[in-house]
Homo-oligomer: 348 residues x 3
Amino acid sequence: MNWTLDEVAKRIGGTVVGDGSVELTGVSGIREAQPGHLTFLSNPKYARYLETTRASAVIVDASCEGMAAGGPAARLVTGNAYASFARAVRLFTGEEFRPPVGAHPAAHVAPGAMLGHGVAVGPHAIVMDGARIGEGTVVHGGAYIAPGAVIGRDCVIYPNVTVKSPSVIGDRVIVHAGSVIGCDGFGFAREGGEQVKVPQVGNVVIEDDVEVGANVCIARATLGTTRVGRGTKIDNLVQIAHNVVIGEGSIIVAQVGICGSAEIGDHVVLAGQAGIAGHLTIGDGAVVGAQAGVTKSVPPGERVSGYPARRHALSKRLNACIQALPDLLRRVREVERRLAASEKEGKC
Amino acid sequence: MNWTLDEVAKRIGGTVVGDGSVELTGVSGIREAQPGHLTFLSNPKYARYLETTRASAVIVDASCEGMAAGGPAARLVTGNAYASFARAVRLFTGEEFRPPVGAHPAAHVAPGAMLGHGVAVGPHAIVMDGARIGEGTVVHGGAYIAPGAVIGRDCVIYPNVTVKSPSVIGDRVIVHAGSVIGCDGFGFAREGGEQVKVPQVGNVVIEDDVEVGANVCIARATLGTTRVGRGTKIDNLVQIAHNVVIGEGSIIVAQVGICGSAEIGDHVVLAGQAGIAGHLTIGDGAVVGAQAGVTKSVPPGERVSGYPARRHALSKRLNACIQALPDLLRRVREVERRLAASEKEGKC
Amino acid sequence: MNWTLDEVAKRIGGTVVGDGSVELTGVSGIREAQPGHLTFLSNPKYARYLETTRASAVIVDASCEGMAAGGPAARLVTGNAYASFARAVRLFTGEEFRPPVGAHPAAHVAPGAMLGHGVAVGPHAIVMDGARIGEGTVVHGGAYIAPGAVIGRDCVIYPNVTVKSPSVIGDRVIVHAGSVIGCDGFGFAREGGEQVKVPQVGNVVIEDDVEVGANVCIARATLGTTRVGRGTKIDNLVQIAHNVVIGEGSIIVAQVGICGSAEIGDHVVLAGQAGIAGHLTIGDGAVVGAQAGVTKSVPPGERVSGYPARRHALSKRLNACIQALPDLLRRVREVERRLAASEKEGKC
């Protein structure tokens, strides 16, 4: 669908600078944009592209305004260009595919499953007895919802997801394909040479507005609850062990592993492939670098990196020291030589 | 279901201290426990909670007995409190859900598939021609069992698992959701600029009492067998490459990667996100630390950590040295200054 | 099926040395081979096994010829023994199972899906409206092909794979079980304390002859295309983020993570568990070591390792320096002692 820039502004807010009547046909990145496209500029580093972009209109962050001579494209200035662009995209691309409301004839919805108003269940999806699915939620083809699992309103459960009981999922939660919510925690009691399985009888609670990537594993608690707080976003292939508690608005990047009973605060960032040892606390607003191996709790607001994870500034300092080691070795060798010479001389 | 402590003791063993007639309604952790709950104490570090827990009864490890004044809860003293608790849990929580015996009408069980007595196959599960499933095994909804795959007795195959042929799975094996047993090994012969696929025609053998986590990959051998030994437990998102051989009773924690043809002994522990290079041997009883990158074989009983993995004591030593590097640099600079001064003086 | 060595030579090429009429019944590794088996020798390191193998015939790399006394087995000398063996394997083991041509009665193929000639769709597989599947492609049971997804000729899509739209997959592509092609990129615009989802509206393009391992995630682009070039091979549990571009003939080993918008060249090797930060360029022919954490672009042909990744030779040098740190500390302490003594003496 096409829109003028004025119409876009009316829907997503912002101040039009230039020709608001320009007709827009699609969205793209500032470098790839073609005539007719709407793009955005939120990073001052790319301000120079304003002059060269072929886009017909650019959503510009107020903080970037005036940083570049401009160029021919019309502009829509907003307080947060990336967020504005996020809203604009759907005007042009339409919504994601969703299966029609109701259970597809090839779905298996058990007689005792409770589906809210407007629920859509795709082909070969499985909703077992006693599962409850809230209004407007989509369960795509091939997904499995266990007996007794509870899913809120307006969620999207993608193909081949497994939601085991007794998981409780809030509203507007997205779970991407292949993820497993509520698999057993990894708990064994060693007895003689054998590993005796400790039954995992706790649950998983995923609060409202969480997004869970593809092929993620979130284990149910041994006893009690594994919890993912409101608005937290989890990328692909992440491991969240039993009894982990994650706060609100945190960002967990791909392939992160969080060991049992760790507590992750609000607005924490765990960068890709980082590992958090068991029973630690990562304070609110902390940032853990990519591939970091966190072996001690991290205070609120602190930034750590490396293995074992240390304050990021210290990690960088130590990396620089390591880089300088060949030179240091040379200097020590030289000092030893000079010292020996001076001692010899002294002895004469 | 409710039990008195005496009844619990009769079923799982141990010596009651205090009121054995106390009625128990559930299980929980020692800090979260409510009146009516049974909990456990196996770590002397938490002995103080014995005095403050609200639980009505505590399974106490013999090694912890007498470490705390006690408190009002009745006690059940056993030689291994955690293992005893593992057994007690099922008295209160009942068994996991399993679909009814037989093939669900919405399952696809090929005419040539052989199902043992008491096998249960969930909706939209797929059991292909020539697959053999042993007595009492459960194949949950959405799982796929390939033609010719063999699964033993009393196994549990969770939703969306893929068991490819010619895998052979023993008795009492648990495979959690989304895992893939028997995908192709990653084998290519470089020829000119092209990668020629080497057909992967070996198999996977998983012995009795193994547990495989969620979204795990166990590749079939190029030729021969990829093997997971009896009683080994594998956590989520683990990669086991072609021709790997793992011994008995080992523990492979989440996101570990084991490269082709590596041999892992008995009772080995590979902690989370560790990587084992190809063709190495990890000896019986060895422990590999979290995120370790193992580039050389590890002798039996040895503990290694870090990248590249070294004996754990040495790794810790080297980490302490690295931590001290800024100070060392300062000291070398100071030595150089003093030496220059002394040389200058000497020359006068 | 059995073949004489002469017959094998006729089919895969090479020069027979010894008895070409020997009857061969199967293939195996040089150490495990039994009489009747065909094996191969491509690594001169193993040339001694030529003398002791029980195999009846060995495909020998021309470069290994004459390196060992020989032994009783007949030989087939070729320019690339491993590639020749790869071709020979299928003579003995037959092809992989594939479901019969057509849609299985228990499959769901939407009326608007377009299946080419000879396409086979297994039980409980799902091919949604508007999906296009090219001639001869196999979609195994339980796989999900989204509306509008396009898959080329002679591909194999294994069970429980999810191909989301608008993915475009070329010819002869193999996708192993549980993988997800086209899940959303991980893109959020922070606004106040909230993470606003940036709609992911780009696609994934997978070119001809690519192989994708099991439980891999390849995210669709935010805008534009996430691309995997012709002939690239991807191992299990790999994460490929939105807008990543991978060239031709590259090898991505298990559990590698590639962050958003990174560009990986042609014939690159990323070893297991390596991580590539966002927006970097990895030049053609570069090799990234296992577990490396790449934080800067890597020039063509360069080999890097460690965290942060450095040129491999430098990484090894620095590792040796770290290993020597306890000794260096001792030497500096000794220098300080001697210097103090010499200063004291000087002052007398």
